[in-house]
Symmetry: C2
Subunit: 548 residues, 2 copies
């Protein structure tokens, strides 16, 4: 008899923040959990974002029975349109999550998928899997974890979560069901590691309320609030504070506008009808009666807040008397951009409240004590930390060990690892090759690491182009040398020497009947040497040879 | 009678961390305080570092009577060689600071300057200024603040400082003299704002001792410690811990080596003669007997630690059993690099202690309570926060206000501002124009913001080069199109269309006897349009026209 086993393949989300995607297989049936993007960083110049490498899923296309989405953040839903262009299977998620997915789908041509709306505690059957959705708290509402009953045991996947005893909507994470599953026996727990290096407890969203009201109470001019467009709880708090202090709210930024529309329509945001006004009507109100809710909490150069800080925003010029609240933590790597926006806003005279003020933002991810609670409630036999850089996964694994999960029962996995799970073992069995899939303008997956490397060299030292025209086996003119992003071009002596020595070499090569390929190699080599000698720089060197 | 006044001109260090430099003038005499570099960041691709714009100082060359250096950090001494290439005046500093300056000077050809070694509490006369040096604590030893007696009153400049009641060398900041000056009357205080947004007190360097010894006690393999090469106190602690646990120390990294040599020679580092061994002798010792002290605490790609993490270091391959201690805080903007090194080291199996463990690093800058102490001790009439981004300067100004310094007596200044100080007023009177001076390979100041902008475009979208050969007023061949860092080049249809439409346009232009300049403009415009239509990207477009 064949051994019964589950295969778990993390496709994205390990060793990185973002790009979450996982495949779970039993026999010939597979489900996909989440399908998100990874945001670009300083290492990916010119890239819009990255999506997971779907090749494994596409090769096994016929076996995929459904996509389950835990919540509506970009790093969990953003790549769905790209996947649905190539595969057509049902998508299961809660109402708000489906609303946000639908909004993303409108941006790209895809087959109309089957959407199945679920609610916490709903139970669905997909092939051999019986899946219950368990409410969790997070920085977006309507997030769920999954309890997946399989023929060999129960797998818990927490999704992104924290435990908030006083969430804005009153819906506390479903600790009772997590506990019941723990009581029944959990074979494997997969739990969010994002904050696994943070000691203690992540504070409740509620602590912001006091601080927000305090700032609203004392502000005498306009109040600008920058937040993630998906943080519906946070937005609800701002709307409530605005109502309390009789201020009208202007929404600035396309995503913010869209998300508020969706959340309002689906009943997740509650406020008086006339609270939100159009930007063009702001002149009708005094500064004391206005709140501007906008995007740009990460200092993104084209965001509403950045444009306001740069004085280039269409409607708003921030100045003395204004208050700015940036209610989001800085994603590592964005510090310089965010601080630069804060410095500009302060110079314009605004009072700025930001991460530095501890009560102006709370994380959406569980800290160590909550992670311990989850492990303790579910009492898993095996443990797979998910969502995080290696240091987070490792810290989470250590937490699990401290709770007496056996070290050999914990895997700190890599994306692409094939993890085999049976009732008695959990181990790595080979892996699937994955590549980074860059989305770059209209190009998906065409941008290679080579092109990224070229861009980095271009950024650091620029490019020199040498154009050579050959006629009748002779160099017709001295080579034309142009450059971009390269400082040495201003050095006349260097250009003269380069031109002269290149001419000599080319003529010598031509006398020996060298092929254009040989001439190219010789020219590049010589140009590189001379350039480095004169300028200490190593720009990219490109040659164009034309024969008349 | 002419009004007696001091002019204070901050040349660098405001609205930025780094590049500290200030001029203080009275009548026809000027002193310079510090002359440091600014480290490059994501906004300055390819740049080695920036130096202050000396033009104002050079225009007033004959009036400069001395350069006073507060301490030996790069952002206070790094630009001295560039200044001394153009000006020859005495340099005043403490022994270690002069040692480090001398070491920097050896890297560039400069006139041999007059070095005047001072000690804390020494008093020197430079023109109308009587300057006393006051010991402060900082993350480098031998740092001083300045009490500058002028004909109109006393100016205190703190330098970079914190107040450490239990420093490693026992030399506490000279609170008594700061207090005495306060008692006598201080006209203006200029104080370090780097940590002005940090509440509370910066902990003593001593708290590391316990943690370090704890880690040393339990480590069973090699211990790698990454630290700033200038943090002599920290290095002393590592050497002491190594001695205590009978480990030999290997120094890795050229700057680390050099600084330890200087500090040892000058008597600032104390350890047994045979403690430090050569890298090539490591094989003679078991892992348990080795400590490697290296640079790379900021994840700098070419540093010793990064190479060890990448497995490309000449001598050391980090693996299971090794312990790595990164004893420095992450400079904002370096997070991604540092975390990437940490993730790699952990994946190689090392135990890594880093900033996250609070006792593994302490800052060298005063937090709010220390800043308040300094203001309270010196009781200045006027206040100028220095060293920091705008948000730091602003926070420091607010602290001063909270201590009843009148708001109109505080200036949050910009680099280049000319600040006039008399016994009864302190105000901004015009400003000198400053530009950013980039050091880029062998080029100093030649790299312009234009070239930086070009590099950013190259990094994001690459470059297309179109080469056109014209003979007898005709286009001899279809234009040759090459590109680097540009993804669209892989799109055959785009290249075909581009080539065809360009040919048509060029031929049309040539028929109308258009000049090469006109052809260039037309070609660039068309190429830009077609490229954007096909690829959604906007690479730099460069053309080369050659006429046969």
């Amino acid at each position: 008899m064949k051994e019964k086993k589950i295969r778990i393949i993390p496709i994205g989300g390990l060793h990185a923040i973002g790009g979450n995607m996982m495949a779970i297989e039993y026999d010939n049936e597979m489900i996909i959990i989440d399908c998100g993007i990874t945001f670009p960083n300083g290492e990916t110049p010119g890239i819009d974002f990255m999506i997971p490498d779907f090749s494994f899923v596409l090769e096994n296309k016929t076996r995929v029975k459904g996509i389950i989405i835990t919540h509506g953040h970009e790093d969990h839903i953003g790549a769905i349109p790209f996947l649905l262009q190539k595969i057509n299977v049902p998508v299961y998620a809660t109402k708000l999550t489906l609303g946000l997915v639908t909004s993303r789908l409108s941006e790209r041509p895809v087959n109309t998928p089957t959407f199945i709306e679920i609610e916490p505690r709903d139970v669905i059957h997909i092939g051999p899997f019986i899946i219950e959705f368990l409410r969790v708290n997070h920085s977006i509402i309507d997030g769920v974890g999954l309890a997946i009953k399989t023929p060999i045991g129960t797998i818990i996947h927490t999704g992104d979560y924290k435990i908030d005893y006083t969430p804005i909507d009153g819906n506390v994470a479903d600790l009772h069901r997590f506990a019941e599953y723990g009581q029944e026996g959990v074979l494997l727990l997969m739990s969010d590691s994002t904050n696994a290096t943070n000691p203690g407890y992540t504070p409740s969203e509620m602590i912001l309320k006091k601080k927000l009201l305090e700032i609203f109470a004392k502000s005498k001019g306009r109040i600008f609030v920058a937040s993630f467009a998906s943080n519906i709880h946070r937005i609800q708090q701002v709307l409530e504070a605005s109502q309390k202090y009789n201020r009208k709210v202007v929404i600035s930024g396309a995503t913010m506008q869209k998300n508020i529309e969706i959340a309002t329509e689906l009943g997740y945001l509650k406020y008086k009808k006339d609270l939100i006004i159009d930007a063009k009507d702001t002149d009708k109100y005094t500064h004391k009666k206005l709140v501007v809710l906008c995007t740009g909490s990460q200092g993104e150069p084209m965001s509403a807040l950045s444009r306001m800080a740069a004085g280039t925003h269409k409607h708003f010029r921030i100045g003395a008397g204004d208050t700015v609240i940036i209610t989001a933590s800085v994603i590592p790597g964005n510090e310089r951009m965010v601080y630069s926006v804060i410095n500009s806003l302060m110079q314009m005279g605004a009072d700025v409240f930001y991460e530095h003020d501890e009560e102006i933002h709370v994380s959406g991810h569980a800290s160590q004590e909550e992670l311990k609670l989850m492990i303790t409630l579910t009492q898993p036999r095996y443990f797979l930390p998910v969502h995080g850089e290696y240091r987070h996964l490792k810290a989470h694994a250590q937490l699990a060990e401290s709770l007496n999960i056996k070290p050999q029962n914990i895997i700190v996995a890599h994306n692409g690892d094939i993890l085999e799970l049976t009732p008695n073992r959990f181990e790595k069995k080979g892996n699937i090759p994955l590549s980074t899939v860059y989305v770059d303008g209209t190009y998906i997956g065409d941008t290679t690491d080579d092109i990224i490397a070229e861009r980095k060299t271009l950024a650091s030292d620029g490019v020199i182009v040498i154009s050579i025209v050959i006629g009748d086996g002779l160099l017709l003119y001295p080579p034309v040398i142009i450059s971009r992003g390269f400082i040495g071009i201003k050095n006349d002596r260097f250009i003269q020497v380069l031109q002269k020595e290149l001419s000599n070499t080319i003529e010598k090569q031509l006398l020996q009947n060298a092929s254009p390929e040989h001439v190219t190699v010789a020219v590049k080599k010589l140009a590189k040497m001379i350039t480095h000698r004169f300028t200490n720089n190593t720009p990219l060197i490109e040659t164009i040879i034309q024969e008349i």
